[in-house]
């Protein structure tokens, strides 16, 4: 176990050092990408310049959903977002090297491409979340505090499962590139807004099919003390960990099937 941890730590360490070699570009990259997670919040503020409510929710309500969803997404993107690289590994045949090493293929892929520069984004998402919660003037109780901390973590589990499942598609469909984006970045886009504004088919697929209602909307309703305009029961707010666990089970099943399906390019 200690051996495994040391191996991963040195892989991540090497990645940190190599990315920091080109200092100016690296600094610019960290700085700039840290603003990326702010875009979603800026977009909400702009929307509310031209409309007083969205789906019956005020700017405060929507921002709680958006920032909560954003923390979950950025945490997942930071930890496992780079699993997307698997498409390149499959296409170039690099996957062979990964598979013959005595460590888990998924673990290696995540450690080898560990995206240090995405840390700025995560930090910024967290800052915005805390700031919005403080500004929103909520009625804090112990369960709500637990929910405020637990929901983004569970949301991150859900998003990371979707990242892994999406990357697995590359085993069957190498050029699938942007296909997974519809569910990862698309899921984040979906979760950032109150789900009652979406067309019904989108709600079926994303909110409940992929569980995106649980990364922002349902927990935020409980924090705000509002009933669901769509009529879902209140206890759904607490279901994010269950949804995350189910999603991970599905993602790992897919991943293992995918690995077995892998055929080397033979080069």
């Amino acid at each position: 176990m200690a051996d495994t941890i040391r191996a991963y730590r040195s892989l991540v360490g090497a990645q940190v050092r190599s990315q920091a070699q080109y200092r100016l570009s690296f600094a610019l990259d960290v700085l700039v990408t840290s603003f990326v997670s702010g875009i979603e919040v800026v977009a909400i503020l702009l929307l509310f310049r031209v409309t007083p409510t969205l789906g019956g929710f005020s700017v405060r309500d929507v921002l709680v959903m958006t920032t909560m969803c954003e923390v979950g997404f950025q945490l997942a993107d930071f930890l496992v977002g780079n699993v997307e690289a698997v498409a390149r590994y499959v296409r170039t045949g690099l996957m062979d090297t990964v598979l013959i090493r005595p460590r888990s293929a998924l673990g290696q892929l995540l450690a080898v491409d560990f995206p240090v520069r995405k840390f700025g984004r995560l930090l910024q998402a967290l800052t915005m979340y805390v700031a919005v919660l403080a500004w929103a003037d909520l009625d804090w109780t112990l369960p709500r505090a637990l929910l405020a901390v637990g929901a983004p973590v569970a949301g991150a589990a859900l998003y990371s499962a979707i990242f892994v499942a999406g990357a697995t598609v590359a085993f069957w469909w190498i050029d699938s590139g942007e296909f997974a984006n519809a569910f990862t970045y698309g899921g984040r886009q979906f979760g950032s807004y109150p789900i009652n504004v979406y067309a019904p088919w989108l709600r079926v697929v994303f909110a409940y099919g992929l569980g995106m209602a649980f990364t922002g909307y349902q927990p935020a309703l409980a924090l705000l003390g509002r009933p669901d305009p769509l009529g879902a029961p209140d206890w759904l707010a607490w279901c994010t960990p269950v949804v995350g666990a189910v999603a991970w089970a599905g993602a790992l099943l897919l991943w293992n099937t995918g690995i077995r399906h892998y055929r080397s390019t033979g080069s």
């Binding site: 080109y22 100016l24 702009l46 409309t51 942007e178 698309g186 067309a199 989108l202």
Partner: protein, 306 residues
Amino acid sequence: MPFAAACPKSAPDPHSAPDPSADPPDRRGRPRPPARRRAADAAAGFVALTGAGFRRYATYRQAMVAGLFTNIVFGAMLASIMLGVAADGRTPGGYSREQLVAFVWVGQGLLNVVYTWGWRELADRVRSGDVTADLLRPVDPLTSYAAADLGRAGQAVLGRWIAPVVVGVAFYDIYVPHRPSTYVLFVVSVVLATLVSFGGRYLVNLSAFWLLDVRGPVALWMLAGALLSGSFLPMRFLPEWVQWLLWCGTPFPSIFQIPLDVAVERTDGALSATTVLLQLVWVIVLFLACRAVQRRAVRRLVVQGG
């Protein structure tokens, strides 16, 4: 010819005196072909490179299908949000519901035509040293990359633009432009938007001559492109003073907001045509900047041996 200096100079022959109206010889002293043929050759080369760019991207059909799927999912989400914003008869940014729906679907199609994502082709070639091959060719790399990018955009019109627009027309109550001039203006505007976007991307890539790794500049370009070009939300949702700043001081509205405003006829015909002129100005400014920076960059170039 080492002894040339020792040879007596022959008197200039009046019959072979260079005709001042003829073209000067090229760098190696060879006579140049007539100007008209040169222009025809350059045009043929440009067209060939554009065709190559088109065919290169047309090869990735599976990736195209994957990308289309994503565009359509995002389009459906954005259209829902826009309809939510425009509920109760509101006209956000001066757009009607139908115009907003058109903005979203035409915009989703246009994302990959103008292409504001991270493009690092030139930068990668600078880092690997392959750029020397580009510099040795008889065509300026700025021209050849621009031609290839227009070819890429042409492929994207067929592969990535039509389908989202068809989805929008088929399933939504969408705005259909009623001025015939709009259709012509839109085509011109999209070509210019692609060139503006290309100029910006090329300029960002040129920074590789100094930095080698361009991830940072590319990230900055993508962030600015996403936020300030109107690809995320119509720029008319911004406060007015910010809009003025962006319209007058940056090329970003030329990439996305202008072609889309032309398409949904947000302004009258004369104003639309003026905004297209603004795009042309930005194309010229950016290409001049690219050319000046490239000249300096090439002087810095040290090709790594091996």
